[in-house]
C-alpha cells in the first residue's frame, strides 16, 4: 500500500493538472482551472511527504528530524518568497517573472540530477543516460532563462550577441556533452562519473547562455515560450530519472504548452522555429534585400482633430503596442474608450500575437487597466472588420501594423501577419517620432493618405486626448 497509495494520488494530481490547463481555455473557467491546479499540487506534495514517512516507518530509511526540518524549511521559505514575488510584481514585469521562474525549474532539475547521481552509484546505463539528459536540459534552461531575464530587465543589452562561428561553437558544446555522457556511462568509478556529470552541467550552462544571447531583444516572446517548453522537458527528464510518472506527465504538458506558444509566436513573427532553437535568428534581418525606401510626407494632426474624429465615429478600433505599456498609458486609454462607449461609439481593442513581450501579455495589461475582455479581440477576429471601421487608433505599435509585411517583398518583415489597419477609414498613429520600429524598419503606414500622425509621448498625448474627448 505504501507504494500504491502515492501512485494513485499522482494519477489524481495529473488529472487535475490537465483539467487546470483545460480551464484556462476560456476566461470564464480560468479561475477554476487555476484552483484545480493548486489542489493537484497540494495533493502531490502532501501525499509525497506522507509516503516518505509511511515507507520509511520502522526502517532505517525513516527521515531524520533534521532532514524533515530542512525539507519543511525549504518549502516554507520557497513558498514565502514565491508569494511575495507574486504579490509585488508589476504586470509589465510579467515576462521577467516568467523567465526567472523557468530558471528555477532548470536549476531544480540540475540539482535533482546531481543528487540522484550521488545517491545511485553504479546503476544501469539507461538510468545514467536519463540523468545526463535531465541535467543537460535543466542546465540549458537555467542559464538560458537567466540571460533572458537579464535581457528583459535591461540589465544586459537586448542586442543579439553574434559570435563568429557560433553554430560551430554550439555544435562543439553539444558534442562535448555527448562525449562526456559516454565517459559517464562507462566510468569505472562513481567519482569519475560524477565529475563527467559536472562537466556536462558546465558545458550545458555555457550552451544555454550562448543560445539565448544570440537572440535579439525584440524576439523575446519566442525565447520565453521556448524556455517555457524547455523547463517542461527538464521536469519530464527528472521524472524519467526518478521513475516518477507524475513528473513525466506534468513535464510533458508544460513542454507541449511551451512548444505551442513558441510555434504561435514564430508564425506571428514569420520566423522559422528551427532558427529560433539554434539562436541568432535576429541576423536574418540583414540578410534580406534592401527594403523599399518609403518616401512621402506624414500628415501631422492635433489633439482636437483626433477628438473630433473619434467622437464622430461609429466604429473605433484601438491597436495597443508595447509602447503603450512602457508609457503606462493603458489606464488613460481605457478611460478614453469608456468615454467613447458612453457616447455609443462601438470600441474594440485589436491585439497582435506579439504585441507585448510575452504571449498574451497585452491582454493582461488591458485587463489590469479594467478593459473588458469581451471587447479585446485577436488579430484574426478583427482583420475582416477593419474595412468597416471608421478610425483606428494605433498607440505605441509599429511593426505589427506595417503594410510592408504584405506588399514589399524586400522588407525584412515581409510575410509576417499584421493588423491591416490601413483598410480602415482613418488611422491615427500616436508615435514619439517618425523613427523606425523595434525591428528597425521604416513604416510606410505613416505616409498613407488616410493616416494622421499624432506625435509626442504616448502618456501625455492620451491624457490630453481624454480631456478633449470629455469636453465634446
Amino acid at each position: 500500500m505504501a507504494d500504491t497509495f502515492p501512485q494513485v494520488s499522482y494519477i489524481v494530481a495529473s488529472f487535475l493538472f490537465i483539467l487546470s490547463l483545460k480551464g484556462l481555455s476560456q476566461p470564464e473557467t480560468s479561475r477554476r482551472g487555476n484552483l484545480l491546479g493548486t489542489i493537484g499540487m497540494a495533493i502531490a506534495i502532501v501525499v509525497t511527504a506522507v509516503s516518505l514517512f509511511l515507507r520509511g516507518a520502522g526502517t532505517a530509511a525513516l527521515p531524520s528530524p533534521s532532514s524533515t526540518a530542512l525539507l519543511a524549511g525549504a518549502i516554507a521559505v520557497g513558498c514565502a518568497i514565491g508569494a511575495v514575488l507574486a504579490a509585488r510584481v508589476a504586470m509589465t514585469q510579467m515576462p521577467e517573472l516568467v523567465a526567472i521562474l523557468h530558471s528555477f525549474v532548470g536549476a531544480a532539475a540540475v540539482l535533482v540530477g546531481i543528487v540522484t547521481k550521488i545517491h545511485s552509484a553504479g546503476s544501469d546505463a539507461a538510468h545514467e543516460l536519463e540523468i545526463a539528459i535531465g541535467v543537460a536540459v535543466g542546465a540549458v534552461t537555467f542559464s538560458g532563462s537567466v540571460v533572458a531575464f537579464l535581457k528583459l530587465r535591461g540589465s544586459v543589452s537586448g542586442r543579439p550577441l553574434l559570435l563568429p562561428g557560433r553554430h560551430a561553437a554550439n555544435l562543439a558544446l553539444a558534442a562535448s556533452c555527448v562525449a562526456l555522457t559516454a565517459v559517464m556511462l562507462t566510468a569505472p568509478e562513481p567519482g569519475i562519473g560524477l565529475l563527467a556529470l559536472l562537466g556536462i552541467t558546465a558545458l550545458a550552462l555555457v550552451l544555454g547562455v550562448h543560445l539565448v544571447a544570440a537572440i535579439g531583444g525584440g524576439d523575446m516572446p519566442v525565447v520565453v515560450s521556448m524556455l517555457n517548453s524547455y523547463s517542461g522537458w527538464a521536469a519530464a527528464a527528472a521524472g524519467f530519472m526518478l521513475s516518477n510518472d507524475l513528473l513525466i506527465i506534468t513535464g510533458a504538458l508544460v513542454g507541449a504548452s511551451g512548444a505551442i506558444l513558441s510555434y504561435i509566436m514564430c508564425v506571428a513573427m514569420n520566423r522559422s522555429i528551427v532558427s529560433v532553437i539554434f539562436g541568432g535568428f535576429g541576423a536574418e534581418v540583414k540578410a534580406v534585400g534592401a527594403p523599399k525606401a518609403s518616401a512621402g510626407t506624414a500628415r501631422e494632426t492635433n489633439i482636437r482633430e483626433v477628438a473630433d474624429l473619434l467622437t464622430a465615429s461609429k466604429n473605433v478600433v484601438v491597436v495597443p503596442g508595447y509602447g503603450m505599456a512602457v508609457a503606462q498609458a493603458q489606464h488613460v486609454v481605457r478611460e478614453i474608450t469608456d468615454a467613447l462607449a458612453e457616447r455609443g461609439v462601438h470600441v474594440r481593442y485589436a491585439i497582435h500575437p506579439v504585441a507585448g513581450r510575452l504571449p498574451g501579455h497585452m491582454n493582461v495589461l488591458l485587463a489590469e487597466a479594467g478593459v473588458s475582455y469581451e471587447i479585446v479581440k485577436e488579430m484574426d477576429e478583427v482583420n475582416d472588420d477593419l474595412p468597416g471601421t471608421d478610425v483606428v487608433l494605433v498607440i505605441g505599435a509599429n511593426d505589427i501594423v506595417n503594410p510592408s509585411a504584405q506588399d514589399d517583398p524586400g522588407s525584412p518583415i515581409y510575410g509576417m501577419p499584421v493588423l491591416e489597419v490601413w483598410k480602415a477609414g482613418r488611422v491615427v498613429m500616436l508615435k514619439r517620432s517618425l523613427a523606425a520600429g523595434y525591428a528597425g524598419i521604416d513604416n510606410p503606414l505613416c505616409y498613407r493618405e488616410n493616416t494622421l500622425m499624432l506625435f509626442g509621448d504616448a502618456k501625455h498625448s492620451v491624457s490630453q486626448l481624454l480631456a478633449a474627448v470629455r469636453e465634446r
Binding site: 494530481a13 490537465i18 490547463l21 484556462l24 481555455s25 476560456q26 480560468s30 482551472g33 487555476n34 493548486t38 502531490a44 516518505l52 527521515p63 531524520s64 530542512l70 525539507l71 524549511g73 525549504a74 520557497g78 514575488l85 507574486a86 504579490a87 516568467v98 521562474l101 528555477f104 525549474v105 535533482v112 546531481i114 543528487v115 540522484t116 523547463s231 527538464a234 519530464a236 527528472a238 524519467f240 526518478l242 516518477n244 507524475l246 513525466i248 506527465i249 513535464g251 504538458l253 507541449a256 504548452s257 505551442i260 506558444l261 514569420n270 518616401a295 507585448g356 510575452l358 504571449p359 491582454n363 475582455y373 485577436e378 504584405q406 517583398p409 510575410g415 483598410k423 493618405e449 488616410n450
Partner: protein, 550 residues
C-alpha cells in the same frame, strides 16, 4: 527685391530682368517691407461664388511672409465678409483694378478671363512678371496660356497637381470633386419628389430610393456616401475592380461587368475604352438605370470628351420622376440628353447638367480650395520668399509658365498612384511560401523509427511504461493547450510555471533521508526554488485572472 524670387533651373536671367521692372511700379509700403503682396480678386465668372482665400487661411499666408490684399466683396458670395478678412490681417482693395495693380501673386479660383465691367482681360490686368495660381486647364485653354506668356507671367495650375500621395493635401480637384458629388445628391433629392430613405408610417410604407452612381472616383464615392446617409439603396458602377472595397466600405453595392480590357489608366484615372467596350458598357448601365430612381454620372477621362454612358434609350426606359445628375456636363456629359448648365425634363426624367455644383456649396468649397492653395504656397515658400523648385515633382507638375516660358506639360512622372486611393490591388495572400519539401518529415520519421528500434533492443523494460505515459501526456498537452484562448496565454505560462514546480517532489524524495549530507542539502535547494515556482506561479496567475472581467 532682387533675390526674392529664385528660380532654380532655366529662366534665371529673365527673372532678374522682370523683377527689375516690378520694383519700379511697386507701392512704397511693400518695397519698404520687402514682402510680396498676395492678391485675392473677386471672381467674375457668372455664377461663380467661390473665393481663393478665406479669413481662416489669411493668417497662414501672413505667417509665410506675404502681405494679403482682398478685393472688396471678394468673399461676399460665399458669406465671407470684408470685416472678417480685415480681422484676419488682410487689407481691402477698393476695386478690381487697384487689386490687380498691387498684387505680385494672385490667387484665383477660375482661370483669368475678360472682365466686361472693366473692358479688360484679367491677364492684362495682371502685373507684368507677376504670378498667378488658379484652376487653368492649360490643355483646353491654349490661347489663355499664350496670353499669359506674353505678360511674362509665372502661372501655376491647381488642376495640374500630380496624383501622388505626397500631393494629397494640395489636391484641389479631389476636394472639389468631393463637394460636387455631395451636392449632386442634394440637387437630385430636391427635384426627386420622394423620400430617399425608406419609412413605415401610418400613411403607408415608403420604399427607399435606388441611387446608381456611375464612376467611383472621388466625386462618385462622395455621392455614394451622401446618398447612403440619406437612406437610399446605393449601387456604384465602375470598371476598375480596385475600387470595389471602397464602395463596399461605404455601404453601397459595387456593380461591374467583365470585359477583356483593363480599366485603369495612367496616373490612376480611368482610360478610354474601345467602341465594343463602350457599347457593352452602355447596355449594362441601361439595365441598371431602368431600376434606379436617381442616376449620378461622374465618368471622366482626362483630356477627352466625357464618354456617353447613358444613352437616350436608357433615359426612355427609366421611370418618370427619376433624376439624372451629370457631373461630366462641363465636358460634354455622360448622358446623351444632358444640356450644359441647365435642368431639363426629357421623357419624364429630370436631367441636371449644372456645372457650378461646387459654387453652390461656396462656403465649403472656398474653405477647402483656399486650404489647398495655402498648402501649395507653404511648399513654395522658403524663409519668407517665393521659391520654385523645378526638381520637385509637385511644383514642376503645377508649373504652366515660368516667367512666360512654357513649362507645360511636365515630363512624365515616374511614380504611379492607384486611383483614387493608392490601394495596391495586392492579393490578400501572404508571402508565397515555396511548397514544403517532404524530406525533413521523412528523415524525422526514419530517425524516430531508428530510435524506437534501438529502444526496443537496448532499453530496460522498466523504461517502456514511462515512455508510454510520456508520449500520451505530450499528445494530451498538445490538444488541451491548443484550446487555450490567446488572451490567456500569459496566465497559461504562469500556470505551467507553477505546475512545472512539480519537480519539488523529486527534491523532496532526495532531501528527506536518514542523514543530512551534501546530497540532501543540494536537494533542499531544489525544493526551495521549486517551491518559489509553485507559490509564485499559482498566486500570480490568480492575481492576473482576477483582473479579467466582462
Amino acid at each position: 527685391m532682387r533675390g526674392l524670387f529664385r528660380a532654380s533651373g532655366r529662366g534665371h536671367g529673365v527673372a532678374d530682368e522682370s523683377l527689375g521692372i516690378q520694383q519700379q511700379d511697386k507701392p512704397a509700403r511693400t518695397a519698404a517691407t520687402g514682402r510680396l503682396t498676395v492678391g485675392i480678386p473677386k471672381e467674375i465668372h457668372p455664377g461663380e461664388c467661390r473665393v481663393a482665400a478665406v479669413p481662416r487661411t489669411v493668417p497662414r499666408l501672413l505667417k509665410l511672409g506675404y502681405d494679403v490684399v482682398v478685393e472688396t466683396g471678394a468673399g461676399a458670395a460665399a458669406a465671407f465678409m470684408d470685416p472678417a478678412y480685415v480681422e484676419a490681417g488682410a487689407r481691402i482693395a477698393p476695386d478690381a483694378r487697384a487689386l490687380w495693380a498691387e498684387a505680385d501673386l494672385v490667387l484665383k479660383v477660375r482661370a483669368p478671363e475678360r472682365n466686361e465691367a472693366l473692358q479688360a482681360h484679367e491677364a492684362d490686368l495682371l502685373k507684368e512678371g507677376a504670378r498667378i495660381i488658379s484652376f487653368l486647364w492649360p490643355g483646353q485653354h491654349r490661347d489663355l496660356v499664350e496670353h499669359l506668356a506674353r505678360r511674362k507671367a509665372t502661372v501655376l495650375a491647381m488642376d495640374a497637381v500630380p496624383r501622388i500621395t505626397r500631393a494629397q493635401k494640395l489636391d484641389a480637384l479631389s476636394a472639389m470633386a468631393n463637394i460636387a458629388g455631395y451636392r449632386a445628391i442634394i440637387e437630385a433629392a430636391s427635384v426627386y419628389g420622394r423620400f430617399l430613405g425608406g419609412q413605415i408610417t401610418a400613411a403607408g410604407r415608403v420604399r427607399p430610393a435606388t441611387v446608381l452612381v456611375i464612376g467611383a472616383g472621388v466625386a462618385g464615392l462622395s455621392a455614394v456616401s451622401a446618398a447612403s446617409a440619406l437612406g437610399a439603396i446605393v449601387k456604384a458602377f465602375d470598371t476598375r475592380e480596385a475600387v470595389r472595397e471602397q464602395v463596399e466600405s461605404l455601404g453601397a453595392q459595387f456593380v461591374t461587368f467583365q470585359f477583356d480590357e483593363k480599366g485603369e489608366g495612367e496616373g490612376g484615372y480611368a482610360k478610354q475604352m474601345s467602341d465594343a467596350f463602350l457599347a457593352a458598357e452602355q447596355e449594362f448601365i441601361a439595365g441598371h438605370a431602368k431600376d434606379a430612381d436617381i442616376v449620378v454620372t461622374t465618368a471622366l477621362i482626362p483630356g477627352q470628351p466625357a464618354p456617353k454612358l447613358v444613352t437616350s434609350g436608357a433615359v426612355v426606359s427609366m421611370r418618370p420622376g427619376s433624376v439624372i445628375v451629370d457631373l461630366a456636363a462641363e465636358w460634354g456629359g455622360n448622358c446623351a440628353l444632358t444640356e450644359r448648365d441647365a435642368i431639363v425634363l426629357r421623357y419624364g426624367v429630370t436631367i441636371i447638367g449644372l456645372t457650378d455644383l461646387t459654387s453652390r456649396l461656396a462656403r465649403q468649397a472656398s474653405e477647402m480650395y483656399a486650404t489647398t492653395v495655402a498648402n501649395l504656397l507653404d511648399d513654395m515658400t522658403k524663409d519668407g520668399t517665393f521659391t520654385l523648385d523645378l526638381h520637385d515633382e509637385i511644383q514642376r507638375g503645377v508649373l504652366v509658365l515660368n516667367e512666360g516660358d512654357l513649362m507645360w506639360p511636365p515630363p512624365k512622372p515616374e511614380v504611379r498612384a492607384g486611383a483614387p486611393q493608392p490601394a495596391p490591388p495586392q492579393p490578400v495572400v501572404r508571402a508565397a511560401k515555396p511548397p514544403r519539401s517532404p524530406w525533413p518529415a521523412r528523415v524525422a520519421l526514419c530517425v524516430a523509427a531508428a530510435a524506437l528500434a534501438l529502444l526496443g533492443v537496448y532499453a530496460p523494460p522498466a523504461l517502456v511504461p514511462h515512455l508510454t505515459v510520456f508520449l500520451l501526456a505530450c499528445v494530451v498537452g498538445w490538444h488541451v493547450v491548443w484550446n487555450v484562448t490567446p488572451a490567456l496565454h500569459t496566465p497559461l505560462m504562469s500556470v505551467t510555471n507553477a505546475i512545472s514546480g512539480i519537480i519539488v517532489i523529486g527534491g523532496m524524495l532526495l532531501t528527506a533521508g536518514p542523514r543530512v549530507g551534501l546530497g540532501s542539502a543540494l536537494a533542499a535547494i531544489a525544493v526551495l526554488v521549486a517551491s518559489i515556482n509553485i507559490a509564485g506561479g499559482f498566486l500570480v496567475t490568480h492575481r492576473m485572472l482576477k483582473m479579467f472581467r466582462k
